[in-house]
């Protein structure tokens, strides 16, 4: 593997890690928001 192969590998690994973490974080945020919204809806039904 030449110099640019190692460079591509390093930047590729870092990109996968950062983009992967971003998607993982966004997924958890979406899940937590949905869970909270469902809980609020459920609470609203109970009080009515």
């Amino acid at each position: 593997m030449g110099s640019w192969g190692f460079i591509g590998l390093a930047y590729g690994v870092a990109s996968v890690a950062l983009i992967g973490y971003l998607l993982f974080l966004k997924g958890r945020l979406r899940g937590a928001r949905e869970e909270f919204a469902a809980l609020e809806r459920e609470g609203g039904r109970r009080t009515r």
């Binding site: 110099s3 460079i7 930047y11 973490y21 974080l25 937590a32 869970e35 909270f36 609470g43």
Partner: protein, 230 residues
């Protein structure tokens, strides 16, 4: 719960833009290193990653101290969030360092003082996340995690000075050293730019991760209140 605000979107957009400019600058504009050649371009990624990991560890340390002092879960949310992001950046640091090491030193890995301490710090923070994930009682998990996070700072300081205190294969610090940076300005500026870009990305991740923790806390509070009411 409010969706992503315009400010948060803008923050993320600026981070992506800065990272893209930084990558272009490091890969296309800067000349190759006189001794290492093109492979030195990995440093425009490796050094910003380790700088960001250091900041993440410092933030985790400060937030943990504040949590133990005030017992406020908001500080714990910052500590946990920063530790998680720090693990990502430490992982990138280890991976890019290893990839740079192969063409430069001839090996993917060696038990050099700097590399070994970095691996230990990485393992400590993975341990921190596992401790937090498996703690049954959130307050206890936060307390034990804070103690572990406080131990992370001396480990980070040891990591930084390892290249000065021991004879190591890893070169001494080029930026944070007595007498100022030893890097030529043509390479120093893109390096500083990439560090700033990575720090902006870190701040974006941190705010989003803290937001996640806040939603979780509110969800837990609502559940607790309803549980009490039966």
């Amino acid at each position: 719960m409010a969706p992503l605000s315009l400010a948060a979107r803008l923050h993320g957009g600026v981070a992506v833009l800065l990272l893209a400019v930084g990558i272009f600058w490091g890969l296309k504009v800067v000349p190759p290193d006189a001794f290492q050649g093109d492979v030195q371009r990995i440093m425009y990624l490796h050094v910003p990653s380790v700088s960001t990991a250091y900041l993440a560890i410092i933030v985790t340390f400060c937030a943990s101290i504040l949590y133990l002092w005030k017992r406020d879960l908001r500080f714990d949310a910052v500590a946990l969030s920063s530790a998680e992001i720090g693990v990502v950046y430490l992982g990138i640091t280890l991976a890019t360092g290893s990839i740079w090491g192969k063409p430069t030193w001839g090996v993917w890995w060696t038990w050099d003082a700097r590399l070994t301490v970095t691996a230990i710090v990485f393992t400590m923070y993975v341990g921190y996340l596992m401790l937090r994930a498996f703690a049954e009682e959130p307050q206890a998990g936060a307390r034990y995690g804070a103690v572990l996070a406080i131990l992370g700072l001396p480990a980070m300081i040891l990591n930084h000075f390892a290249v000065q205190w021991w004879r190591t294969l890893h070169q001494p610090s080029s930026l944070l050293r007595p007498g100022g940076p030893s890097v030529a300005p043509v390479m120093l500026w893109p390096l500083v730019f990439n560090i700033v870009a990575m720090l902006v990305a870190y701040s974006y991740f941190l705010l989003e991760r803290v937001r996640l923790e806040r939603i979780r806390h509110r969800t837990a509070e609502v559940r607790l209140k309803r549980g009490r009411r039966g």
